[in-house]
């Protein structure tokens, strides 16, 4: 009997410690329409140093579309939330320069979260961010092969802040900076998952660099501990 009470008490404590107030948002972003064909990055293949890293012709990947029309590289995030960033204590995110391309090309971080830019290539790159939000600062730094990583932080939210290499102008990446932790980037099949969302009514938006730069919005309600499923369809005009 004592054991039973002990078990029940432990279970009660465990349940009470669960973040019952947090919900999880999952879903899929689908592309409606036929995207334009990706184009070969001929200057990369023709570059005497970078070209050696490729046997086949590399191509752009603006539209990452899965077999079921799931659209990758879409930033999904809650709108209208600010000042909730946990970026200062969040683990850093890595943006690598590999094969004379940025990897990944699309990513999202929080304000004040560290973004580590690595150079895994045997060539010099210059890392040049070009923010549009006034609070974020533009930098342009040369990064020799094997030199230490560069660290960036951005204090202001901004969609698709561009990083580029002017030495190799086909190299670019887009970093979305969010002022809270409730966001995700879709995988190659268009799936996403946002965890630990407090209960409430929200507007959730899906942003694609090409097909939906201003976002496609939906209204959702997150209830205590209940998963919410939201699917988006981005239609090409």
């Amino acid at each position: 009997m004592t054991k039973l009470f002990s078990l029940l008490a432990a279970a009660g404590i465990a349940v009470s410690l669960q973040p019952v107030s947090a919900g999880e948002i999952t879903g899929t972003v689908t592309l409606n329409g036929t995207p334009p064909a990706e184009i070969p990055i001929t200057p990369l293949k023709d570059d005497p140093t970078c070209g050696k890293m490729y046997t086949a012709m590399p191509t752009t990947h603006f539209y990452v579309v899965g077999p079921n029309k799931g659209l990758g590289d879409v930033v999904v995030m809650l709108k209208g939330i600010s000042g909730k960033s946990t970026g200062a204590s969040a683990p850093p995110v890595v943006l690598d320069q590999k094969g004379c391309l940025y990897e990944p090309q699309i990513l999202a971080i929080q304000t004040s979260q560290k973004l580590i830019v690595k150079n895994s290539d045997p060539v010099l790159h210059n890392v040049h961010d070009t923010p549009t939000a006034s609070g974020n600062k533009e930098y342009n730094q040369a990064q020799m092969p094997g030199s230490p990583d560069l660290t960036f932080t951005f204090p202001e939210a901004e969609n698709f802040l561009r990083f580029k290499c002017d030495v190799h102008p086909w190299m670019f990446a887009w970093v979305t900076i969010v002022d809270h932790p409730y966001f995700a980037v879709t995988d190659k099949d268009g799936n996403f998952k946002i965890g630990n969302v407090p209960p409430g009514r929200y507007t959730i938006t899906a942003l694609h660099r090409k097909a939906a730069p201003d976002g496609v919005d939906k209204e959702i309600e997150v209830k205590d501990g209940e998963p919410v499923k939201v699917d988006f369809t981005i239609t090409l005009k």
């Binding site: 064909a37 990055i41 342009n140 002017d166 190799h168 005009k237």
Partner: protein
């Protein structure tokens, strides 16, 4: 326009037109400097065409090295275009300092020495007082050293006429300002400075072409000689060319219209170059990907939905910004102005052909000008059809610069003698030669 004619009408009495005594080597050096500047504009075109303007993030150092000591192993990709542009700009700077000295003669020695010394001292002061600005201090000291060196050589120059001296000093000031603008564009991340840098480069090239023209034997021994302060001009026709160019140029000035047209066309070309520089420095690639239509229409839609659709379907190789309605309008304005320029230059050529013989320098220059504009139109179309291939886009910039210079020189030649009513025409052997008869026939009232 009448105001412009009045302004230029004072030119014959200005020493600029008679100029200093012939100095063929000075003229050749001016031509060399102008050609070096044209090449520099081409190299600048390659920088923007290859989106390489920021590939060397620092200035006046290059990737932390002294600009002149950057190891060749780093001259790759965009760095090659940007760094060679910087080095060639330095060479042009040295040429312009030398040209200033050559044009300024003995009198330029003292001011050049003062400027050079001031720059050396300022450079030394900077790297002694602010260690973090050591590279800037070295660079300024180097510039001062070149200026100081120029002050110390060629002490026996013949004294030149003042206006050419002033043009030399203007070039001296502009080349340093232009270098500063190029550097500030890099360190301040400001594309608008880049637009100004590009537009000023075109004017600087025109200035050097004007200096080359005014130092030429052809200009200094020209057919028009000012005889009295403000009443008469003696127009000496060449025995080999009975229908003297200068006489005909006077005829132009009587009517004003062709002069105005030359000036109008040249102004349009400069406007066009500014539009082009603005388009290039938007870093948005081709705002309209087709030609002669624009997104399949005569005038493209620029509402928000249409622009969003254009961006969805653009597949660019570089980190181009998304296009905006403004950029589409800008390219359409560029196309419209191109048509206006073509019409204006056809008008200029037609006027020259009607009023001059084919042997007249102005007719030849106008024909060359028209040829340049036709090539320029073809290059503009090719820039779009080639998806803004760097070499074609750069050729477009270069021909634009030469077209502007051709227009400016045509204007100067055409405005040379705008007071034909007071002209007295004489042949080399005296009055009554074929040229004077021709002129008289044109100006005499019908009887």
């Amino acid at each position: 326009m009448r105001l412009a004619a009045i302004c230029f009408s004072h030119m014959p009495s200005h020493p600029l037109l008679s100029g200093p005594a012939n100095s063929p080597w000075r003229h050749r050096f001016a031509v060399l400097t102008a050609l070096a500047t044209l090449l520099l504009i081409g190299m600048g075109g390659l920088v923007t065409s290859n989106e390489a303007g920021m590939s060397v993030p620092d200035w006046p150092t290059s990737n932390g090295y002294n600009m002149f000591a950057l190891p060749i192993k780093f001259w790759k990709g965009g760095i090659f275009y940007e760094h060679t542009h910087r080095l060639w700009a330095s060479l042009v700077g040295v040429l312009v300092v030398a040209l200033t000295r050559w044009l300024g003669g003995r009198a330029s020695r003292r001011p050049l020495a003062i400027i050079g010394l001031a720059e050396v001292l300022a450079g030394c002061g900077i790297f002694l007082l602010w260690p973090n600005l050591r590279a800037t201090g070295h660079f300024l000291t180097g510039i001062g050293g070149v200026v100081l060196l120029a002050a110390l050589v060629w002490a026996r120059n013949a004294p030149p006429k003042p206006p050419l001296v002033q043009l030399g000093w203007l070039a001296f000031a502009l080349v340093q300002f232009q270098g500063l603008l190029g550097g500030l564009r890099v360190v301040l991340f400001d594309s608008e400075i880049g637009i100004f840098h590009a537009a000023l480069a075109q004017l600087f090239f025109v200035l050097l072409c004007v200096i080359a023209l005014l130092t030429s034997k052809w200009w200094q021994n020209g057919n028009i000689k000012h005889r009295t302060p403000n009443i008469e001009h003696r127009i000496v026709s060449q025995a080999t060319e009975p229908r003297s160019f200068d006489v005909r140029c006077s005829m132009f000035s009587v009517r004003y219209f062709p002069n105005a047209l030359f000036l109008f066309a040249t102004g349009l070309i400069f406007l066009q170059l500014v539009l082009g520089a603005t388009m290039r420095h938007q870093h948005a690639g081709l705002a309209i990907p087709d030609f002669p239509l624009a997104y399949g229409r005569i005038w493209p839609a620029t509402d928000a939905a249409s622009v969003a659709s254009y961006n969805e379907h653009r597949m660019e190789l570089t980190a181009a910004n998304p296009i905006t309605a403004f950029q589409i309008d800008l390219q359409m304005a560029h196309r419209v102005v191109a048509v206006l320029i073509l019409a204006a230059v056809i008008g200029c050529s037609w006027s020259a052909f009607r009023n001059f013989t084919w042997r007249s320098p102005l007719t030849k220059l106008a024909a060359l000008w028209l040829g340049l504009i036709l090539v320029q139109v073809a290059l503009g179309a090719a820039t779009i059809w080639s998806k803004k291939a760097a070499d074609i886009a750069t050729a477009h910039v270069l021909v634009g610069a030469v077209s502007l210079a051709a227009g400016a020189l045509s204007c100067i030649i055409c405005f040379r003698n705008p007071e034909p009513a007071r002209a007295v025409v004489v042949s080399p052997a005296g009055a009554g030669g074929p040229a004077s008869r021709s002129f008289a026939a044109k100006t005499a009232p019908a009887q």
